[in-house]
Amino acid sequence: MAKKSYRQAINEALAQEMRRDPTVIVMGEDNAGGMGAPGEDDAWGGVLGVTKGLMPEFGRERVLDTPITESAFVGAAVGAAATGLRPVAELMFIDFMGVCFDQIFNQAAKFRYMFGGKAVTPVVIRTMYGAGFRAASQHSQCLYPIFTHIPGLKVVMPSSAYEAKGLMIQAIRDDDPVIFCEHKVMYDEEEEVPDEAYTIPFGEANITREGDDVTVVALGRMVQFANQVADDLEKDGISCTVIDPRTTSPLDEDSIIESVEDTGRLVIVDEATPRCNMATDISALVAQNAFDALKAPIKMVTPPHTPPPFAPELEDLFIPNPEKITAAVRGVVGHA
């Protein structure tokens, strides 16, 4: 076992699955890069280098660069998945879902159900989400709740390098379409990641901290903030359970409900804007199933209901941070 970055962990998962199963292919804009150009082959390996090295090992037939035509190649990945391949398509930024959404939600998501169980669509759509890069309104959004809203899709939110590798291998082996959401700010973050292939099942939350006073449910990059807050507040005598659901669809409802039944307090940390996001969804779940256990109103820590702003000063105000999570936890603990 060695320390690996979130980027390396995903890259290793892709490479190991491509070695194991010849039907696994990857495709996307500049996934190798330099196609048709006079300079270096594999020039980019994806815009942030996640697929670097795959083309030299597996060749252009299994690592396909595409024109900038998201409808065509995401749709092609879906069609190939329904006919024998296991494609991993890269939708570079989650914001670009708008260009190709029909192929995802009317086509991929529907096949198995609409065709009476006679189709499988084992496609993975890798996509970058999240603010923090000063990349402004069209390259910084957290649109995973929109995918979560669609029956037939599975939605994965790896919160660390270890999680990313196991969840990616699971995603590739899954027979349903999977939206694999990578936080762009996390690519260089490292932790111990096993060299061998392993899977992390979908719909099983990871309890990263155990405590008695408050349940904090956090998603994706927000998990590390929640852990940090839990560790800090422990010193003040406030003990938190932190739950990383890992997948928003399927969602591990039981772990969340059982924890709230123990603690009686819930804070949800969601980087998506606050209307119809995962925080509202989980709030409704808990209100329906654990109402009697609640000792305080549920608190949600989210950005304001605005597009992501460009100016660094505004973007820093926009993104949920440990200070806001701390205030929310103290708020529910202090509730009379």
């Binding site: 890069g33 196609m35 024109p67 035509t69 304001p304 209901h305 605005t306 100016a311």
Partner: protein
């Protein structure tokens, strides 16, 4: 084609301002003064200016990731643009948009765009407004070779013809969609695409201001006369990467040096107008100096300008939550 001296001076000033702007953004970005992503237009100046010389404020354009040149040529305030790129409160979009989203609707600039192929459908709408409101305006979609392949662009070619819109599609083919060569990623021929949709198409040398100017003259006249859309395929080059920070290892080692030496649109313009005796070298030198001074001032003001404050986060959007 004959341009008056004043028009020639205006064209050179526009190209110089864009070049100086982009060269300085390149430097200031590397020095860490500019946040986020920037995509530079240096090398392609003749395209924006050659087209925009035919437009006025009631005409609309939609741009691309690589939008600074289009903004400047369309008449956007250069100091406010620089402040926007720095993320300042007095920037053209209040610091909320940044380089990829600079817009000024008063100038008919409908925005740089973070979505490849985002502009052409909007231009169909702007052309529809011009037609229905009888403003006499036209609308121009700039797309790159990458954007030319998007469904949105191909659908817009079709729609603009079906509705007989006063629209012009300018495909700025700088050889690369990100790191991928356009010779690989564009199937068929841009002009045959135009032909297939029943509209005139013309290929121009994007290093030659006059070639772009002529083609745009025809296309804009056609649109203003109610004779429908056109496509212009501009063969050009960019001097920098897809974005600043792109190591451009996909390009040949001496590619950009050769382009700067042999194909530079400013040099070619200068050579042509001085050799023909249309302008004097000292007039052009003076314009270059003025452009440098303007951009110096724009950078100094932008660097010193205040950022937006907390109160600005929740404005300009319907917030009830």
């Amino acid at each position: 084609m004959q341009l008056a001296r004043e028009e020639l001076l205006k064209a050179y000033r526009g190209m110089c301002e864009i070049r100086e702007f982009e060269e300085r953004v390149h430097i200031e970005f590397a020095a860490g003064g500019i946040p986020g992503f920037v995509h530079l237009y240096a090398g392609e100046e003749a395209s924006a200016v050659g087209v925009m010389m035919h437009l006025n404020d009631r005409d609309c354009i939609a741009s691309t990731h690589r939008g600074h040149g289009h903004c400047i040529a369309k008449g956007c305030d250069i100091k406010a643009m620089m402040k926007e790129i720095y993320g300042r409160k007095d920037g053209l979009c209040g610091g909320k948009g940044g380089s990829m989203h600079i817009a000024d609707l008063k100038k008919g600039m409908m925005g740089a765009n973070g979505i490849v192929g985002g502009g052409p459908p909007l231009v169909c709408g702007a052309a529809l407004s011009a037609k229905n409101l009888k403003t006499g305006g036209v609308a121009v979609a700039f797309v790159g070779d990458g954007g030319s392949n998007q469904g949105t662009t191909l659908e817009s070619l079709n729609l603009s013809k079906v509705w007989n819109l006063p629209a012009i599609f300018v495909v700025e083919d700088n050889g690369y969609a990100e790191s991928t060569a356009s010779s690989w990623s564009v199937a068929g021929d841009q002009l045959k695409r135009a032909e297939a949709f029943g509209m005139p198409g013309r290929r121009v040398d994007g290093h030659d201001f006059f070639d772009v100017y002529d083609a745009a003259s025809e296309a804009v006249a056609r649109a203003r006369n109610g004779d429908g859309p056109s496509l212009i395929h501009v063969q050009t080059n960019r001097y920098y990467g897809h974005f600043e920070g792109d190591a451009t290892t996909y390009r040949a080692a001496d590619e950009v040096d050769k382009l700067r030496a042999d194909k530079d649109c400013l040099k070619l313009f200068r050579q042509r107008v001085t050799e023909a005796g249309l302008l004097e070298a000292k007039q052009l030198d003076e314009i270059e100096k003025q452009a440098t001074a303007l951009i110096d001032q724009a950078v100094a003001e932008a660097a010193a300008a205040p950022p937006p404050g907390e109160q600005d986060l929740l404005t300009d959007v319907y917030v009830t939550y």
